[in-house]
């Protein structure tokens, strides 16, 4: 096969175009300030719904409460696997939940 698009080959020199895509700039955001200590604070435990997430977060919760007995925890499990929560019907519930906690441990497991 030898089309015009494929005619130039061999030892000839080729100036080639980039196959890599441009991206629109994404505004950068920092992470939220941390509590100075965890005593009396409410820690969110966000499970992405995969099978290891609940187990690992349960282990985190147990040890957290052992080490900081006054800490509270609040769980949230994603509405759909592999879908950002704000793109699901759980968006409003998630936004209320996340505003009600002092920090979040997210388990993406796998």
């Amino acid at each position: 096969m030898n089309t015009g698009a494929q005619a130039s080959r061999g030892t000839a020199s080729h100036e080639v175009l980039s196959p890599w895509a441009d991206v629109d700039p994404v505004p950068l955001r920092g992470i939220t300030p941390r509590p100075k200590d965890l005593a009396g604070k409410k820690i969110g435990l966000f499970s992405n719904g995969k099978r290891a997430a609940a187990l690992t977060l349960t282990a985190v919760e147990t040890r957290l409460k052992e080490q900081v007995p006054s800490v509270e925890t609040s769980w949230y499990t994603s509405t759909k696997i592999n879908t950002p929560e704000i793109l699901t019907e759980g968006k409003a519930r998630f936004e209320v939940w996340v505003r009600g906690v002092d920090a979040v441990v997210l388990s993406v497991a796998d």
Binding site: G4, S13, H14, W20, D24, L28, L38, R51
Partner: protein, 433 residues
Amino acid sequence: MLANEGFVTDGRSASSNKGMPVVRIVPQTVPCECSVKEDAEAGIGQVMAQILDALASPLTAEEASPKKKESEPLSRIVFKGDLGEFNRFFYKRGWGDGLPLLPPTEEAVREMLTGTDLPSDHVVGKIEPRYGKATVEKIAVNAVMAGALPTYMPILIACVEAVTEQLAQLGAYGTSTGSWTPFWIINGAVRNDVRVNCSSGSMSPGDIANAAIGRAMGLIIKNLGGARKAVEDMGVYGNPGKYSSVIGENEENSPWEPLHVEHGLARDESAVTLFFPNCYSQIWQYGSDDRGILNTFIYNLQPGRGGLSCLIMTPHHAKTLAGKGWTKPMIRKFVSEFGRVVAYRHPSSHQGGGWTIKRPETVPPSGMDTVAIIPNPDLIKILVAGGPGAFLGLACGSGMVGADFVTKKIRLPANWSKLVAKYRNLVPAYEKY
């Protein structure tokens, strides 16, 4: 963020692509998809001090207000050299698929762009996970690299439209440990115009259209979407189907309406349909009558798949079924209803099987009851393709919530008939012996 140690770069990349490059990630050694409580507790015990630190230590200046990382600017012309030098440069940059590439020179890209009326800077979509802009020119560049012909451009543009549709779930399938592969089905007159093989050996190497369309889309997804192997694309074993999985429907020999008509397009329109299976089996028929054909499908569904599946059958099989009164909706309903497994063999019955989010309809009252493998018949599609023979095909996808087959119309340029005439004479003429 808690992540298995093998997924730290993936987690960092995902958060960066969403504008948060400084998320605190605690790597842990809990086995992937862990189902053993003791293993989870042991893995978390090792990193609990880091978790507490991540929760309560003050932010650094960078964490509070991250600065944009200056990346090397890329000019439109990225390299000059001979064929070997060009291939080595692209390979080192991760812009290839391991096979030799053709150089996307200005001349070659210009010729490729004759396959569309769209302006070269038109953005067809943004491809996950990097949300790279798939301009018509970038599609053409990757098409040249893959050995595509200009007549494939309308198909590739429709493929990009399909892969950027949320329902296709490229962001999940394209990076998943499951190594799901884009499976492209082409319908309409365009199949014959560009010689997409719909018959014997459609999925084997040897046909430019079947090979180069799939290969071009592999490069487009990789280079425009930016899914790097073992960084964002976490496929455990990978999938040879990612080189190319393209098949045309053998509409002329099918007794039923073609797939794109089922999906709302007119019979005289052309279309591409996409879904993401991760395996493709070919199964010898249990019998050549209608029951034998259908039993082959229902007894070979894999427990736990539960989702998008494509039953592939030859025109002969399809005519046998249609002759006995079977329609596509009847077949879907039959396979959904009778493709069952004893519940104790279904992954949802096991501690480590299924997901935290379980679908109620998959939970039977007793382990000895049977359960449907694909409870929703709408997730099953039927494709008539392939050459003579007794094998049936089964492309198995997943039950991912919110994913579906996506069909996009192929829009042809005004000069289509001239283009077809220019490139259509590329036909293999096997040596006689």
